[in-house]
Amino acid sequence: MSKIYVVEDDKSIRTELAELLKNAGYEAECLTDFSDSKRHIIESESDLILLDINLPSVNGETLLKEIRRETDTPVIMVTSRTSETDEVLSMSYGADDYITKPYNPTILLLRISAVLKRSSKENIKTSYRNLQVNTAKGSLSDGTDELVLTKNEMIIFQLLLDRQGQIVSRDDLMTTLWDNEEYINDNALTVNISRLRSKLSDFGCENAIETRKKQGYILI
């Protein structure tokens, strides 16, 4: 379980963020004492830091610069400042991503998971049952045969696989697809899921994806 450190001075956002992260299966720790932020952040030994720019007594960008001198823990800047200058500055100081408030929580989680994957602090699952998953090629293989998935199907399968055993909502699937420039609608998602299902079952994985009414899908 990856540990995420939340540096945010607005108490209400902080609490909600921590809850959001916990619900998504991360361990969340919050900074409450801003007098010596840098030390607390470094001592926490987290896998990822969510850092606000407007902090009491210190500017988030300065803090980021100082943190970068000591550790290369991934940092996502989360801020209400929507100017290109802030973003460019943050990225040049070594931030891994930059998200502006108010963010879509699903997108925030997507970004977190993407950054964690990149820094390989999160285990990337490359196999399902007896199948090898080849994301780059967009295919599954059992050693002898290969099952080719379309881009949409691969995105859906990958997300379900990342959260195998958990329910993935249609909203999360949609956000992920749109984030990958696949602007599909509700019906298309249903079609894609059923096609993925039948492809999987033709390939020997019966009942791989289950539907949970009004909640989403789950990869067994």
Binding site: I13, E16, S80, E84, E87, D179, D186
Partner: protein, 337 residues
């Protein structure tokens, strides 16, 4: 400076001079001075008078002619006093000093208003950051408590949109250059605004078709995302009920430009309204009969595009389509305003 008008202005001194000459003449005659001698005195008297007048004229002429031509050629006429040198004659000096004084007073006055306006802008920016915090917090709360939260999130997104409008309006009105121009991928910028508007686009079953967006343009990505979001929002307001809503987003590359088209198949804009849609507070027929409109959206887009050096225009056929076209200059062809 016109010599005749100058002379007409000297009417009284000329009359006084003539009267004085008559008295002198009378006086000289009374002393039985010969008329030849009186004639010579007269010539000396009037020659002196003429030289004096001409000298006065040319002294003023240099100063005032420069002043007039400077005023005519100056783009910013209030800079006149800085362009002018103090003349060497007394009344001119008084005039010059007063000119400088009034100009300075006006500058102070303008500076005062500019300061007010900057302070106001800064406060609005601060307020926007401030108000985004509770919105962010509420959105997280909605996500953490999913029952019935969808409709709350929807209203929150509306609030956020209103906040953004205020912020970009302030930014577009102000000369402060708080943008940063760098290479921006059209694909990424569009993706960001599409994801942001996903819920609403999906609810209305809008088909998004993208083509040729794998290209970079020189712009400020945040501003471009906002502009694209606004255009998508506009399209969603004016879709036709008769056909499946669709927005085509594609770019065309020419030698000097990259041209971005955002074309919807909505109700279109009446030809009579088309030339005015980018004007401030212009709502037009659609704004009155269909969705409510403030007439600010396209105006802000136009202002932002102008600041960034992009050209924006609209093409439309009523009941068929609306196409908003943004032209980006390529590298060194960007003209900064």
């Amino acid at each position: 400076m016109n010599f005749r008008k100058f002379l007409a202005d000297k009417f009284i001194p000329v009359v006084i001079s003539l009267c004085a000459w008559l008295i002198i003449w009378d006086f000289l005659s009374a002393f039985h001075i010969k008329s030849g001698q009186i004639f010579i005195i007269g010539i000396i008297y009037f020659t002196a008078d003429i030289i004096k007048t001409l000298w006065e004229y040319f002294r003023r002429k240099t100063f005032y002619t420069t002043l007039v031509s400077d005023t005519e050629t100056l783009d910013k006429k209030y800079l006149l006093s800085a362009m002018t040198e103090s003349p060497d004659f007394y009344e001119g000096q008084i005039f010059y000093e007063i000119l400088c004084e009034t100009n300075k007073s006006m500058c102070d006055n303008v500076a005062e208003y500019r300061r007010h306006s900057t302070e106001f802008q800064e406060y609005i920016e601060l307020w926007v950051h401030e108000v985004k915090l509770p919105v962010a917090s509420l959105l997280l709360m909605c996500h953490n408590n999913p029952e019935k939260s969808e409709k709350y999130s929807k209203q929150l997104r509306r609030i956020d949109e209103c906040i953004e409008n205020v912020m970009y309006y302030v930014r577009s009105e102000n000369a402060e250059k708080d943008y940063l121009i760098k290479e921006v991928s059209l694909k990424r910028a569009f993706n960001a605004s599409a994801v942001k508007n996903r819920e609403e686009l999906q609810q209305r079953n809008v088909v998004l078709k993208t083509k040729n967006l794998d290209i970079t343009v020189m712009t400020d990505s945040k501003w471009l995302e906002y502009i694209m979001g606004q255009i998508i929002g506009n399209s969603m307001k004016y879709f036709s009920d008769d056909r499946e809503p669709e927005i085509n987003i594609y770019s065309v590359e020419t030698d000097d430009n990259v041209i971005l088209h955002m074309r919807d198949n909505g109700i279109g804009i009446p030809t009579s309204d088309l030339p005015y849609i980018f004007e401030k507070s212009y709502t037009g027929e659609n704004g009155r009969t269909h969705a409510k409109s403030t007439g600010m959206g396209l105006y802000i887009i136009k202002k932002l595009c102008e600041s960034l050096g992009h050209d924006v225009k609209a093409e439309s056929v009523q009941n068929e389509f609306t196409d908003i076209i943004i032209t980006f200059g390529k590298n060194n062809f960007i003209k900064f305003k």
